[in-house]
Amino acid sequence: MSLLSVEDLVVRHGLLQAVRGVSFSVERGETLALVGANGAGKTTLLRAIAGAHQAASGRVLFNGADLSGVPSHSRVRNGIALVPEGRKLFVQMTVEENLLLGKTAGRPGEWSVEKVLDAFPNLKPRRHAKAGHLSGGEQQATAIGRALMSNPDLLLLDEVSLGLSPLVVDRVYASLQGLISSGTTIILVEQDLNRALSVSNKVICMLEGRVALAGDSRSMSREEVTKAYFGLHRKSATGVPA
């Protein structure tokens, strides 16, 4: 049984269909990279898995249980944690308070404030600083740490490199590499193709709300993914412009 199965999922923003019948599955310990251009539906898909958007149709199965209609806070209790785009920290609260909020779900596990601070050493001296006063890299580390505090079975990361300097992104990805090595199951939304392909073992490329390409990261060339990214592979497959 897959850890996560998404079956024919449709998500709408009003009249706009942002995710159009997407299906895929993720096994325990895998790292799946969701790539695609802006507006491809990656963030909406991730938020629908986390329960922040309700699906119009289709199903999300987690550990075999159907999560349809389950609110986001209950999904955290089930073991799904999202690091949202833009970090979305509680800026009036300290780093420690933000991390402790991740414990609200009450899932047992190894993650504690101390362990997060060990995993992200740059946060140690900022423990009692308000989240609103942190640098972009420190905020991202806090957001990832907050999600880890719920001891998730599945970690959803939405654009963790967005708005960060290359040096800081390197640091964040070095921390992620540690998580991946420890066997944490991750779905990663990333604009940077090279980084996405380097850390993942599966990749899904989305285009206009649909899966344009899916497969093993290592057996897929960058050129192949780039074509799917811009919708070029459909042109060659059907012979007509997409």
């Binding site: 986390a50 329960g51 922040a52 609110p71 986001s72 806070h73 955290v76 209790r77 944690a81 999202l82 949202p84 979305k88 509680f90 800026v91 009036q92 609260m93 308070e97 402790l100 909020l101 991740g102 414990k103 609200t104 779900a105 009450g106 907050r146 999600a147 719920s150």
Partner: protein, 298 residues
């Protein structure tokens, strides 16, 4: 003069107590509860009923009334405020305004227009006092109310910063959607916040009944004092509420020294001065304030 200042500070404790729930609901739930005063009077009537019919001391009656107020707060949030909040910012204000009218008139229907007090049921506490140096007489009840306000506000501050539920309430207040994504049940957090606010309202109602008289329509005055104290203290700040209450009470006490009618006017003047300073320093500037007062927006 020192006697007036001491009395003003002690009265400020009562105003802080009655403003506490209003300020808490505004800062956490973003709701201006216009039924605040009426709910305090409801609590006072409940205690009066227990004391007059069942001979239960108002202090002991709090053991029954405060949990009831918590249940009322929880139910109000779940069945009324939560639903009305979906209709925009104005609807909860109108809803609580309607609720105040309903409570006032139900109390009038049940208890008539007579004024009541809990003072006869607390022995000599309502008029006992200590003599301090300089011929200053300090009412025992006023001191109890002031200490209760400090303990309540301090307890609330500790609750919000040191407990998991407190953090959940603050997170929900800041961003309910993201709070859900970290595992906080935002609906539950808001219902707990409303229950806590109503417990503070219940306590304020008890002290209202002990230190003065009340009738079914006394809620509006209490709401006004609570609103003024909350605004002076910077609505949302726990210790600011205490300072707001003290400033309001001092202004009223000093106003009463100037003119017999000056008690209320002194408080209103202090409120308006602080309000204008806040608006002026908010970045609107003098021109912005003048535009607001004349209704010109461009």
């Amino acid at each position: 003069m020192s006697n007036q200042i001491v009395q003003g500070i002690l009265l400020g404790g009562y105003y802080a107590l009655i403003a506490c729930g209003l300020s808490f609901m505004f800062s956490v739930m973003r709701i201006i509860n216009l039924a605040h005063g009426s709910l305090a009077v409801l609590s006072a009537f409940a205690l009066w009923l227990l004391a007059s019919r069942f001979h239960i001391s108002p202090f002991l009656g709090l053991v029954i009334v405060l949990p009831l107020m918590a249940v009322i707060g929880w139910a109000l949030q779940r069945f009324l405020l939560e639903r009305s909040a979906r209709g925009g910012a104005l609807l909860p204000i109108l809803t609580t305004f309607g609720l105040a009218i309903v409570i006032d008139n139900v109390l009038f229907e049940q208890f008539g227009a007579d004024t009541r007090s809990l003072a006869p049921y607390i022995g000599s506490l309502s008029y006992d006092s200590w003599e301090w140096p300089g011929s200053i007489y300090v009412g025992k009840l006023a001191v109890i109310i002031f200490i209760t306000a400090v303990v309540l506000l301090g307890g609330l501050q500790l609750f919000l910063t040191r407990t998991g539920i407190g953090r959940s309430i603050r997170a929900t207040s800041e961003d309910p959607d993201t709070a859900g994504l970290v595992g906080v049940d935002a609906r539950r957090a808001m219902a707990i916040a409303a229950a806590i606010a109503m417990v503070t309202v219940g306590l304020a109602g008890a002290f209202l009944g002990m230190r003065a008289t009340f009738d079914p329509y006394a809620g509006a005055t209490q709401l006004l004092f609570a609103f003024e104290a909350a605004v002076i203290g910077g609505a949302g700040s726990v210790w600011g509420t205490l300072i707001g209450g003290i400033v309001l009470a001092l202004a009223q006490t000093l106003g009463a020294q100037v003119h017999p009618q000056g008690f209320l006017i002194g408080g209103h003047v202090a409120f308006l001065i602080v309000l204008f300073i806040r608006l002026y320093t908010s970045g609107l500037g003098l021109r912005g304030l003048l535009r607001l007062s004349t209704g010109k927006t461009s």
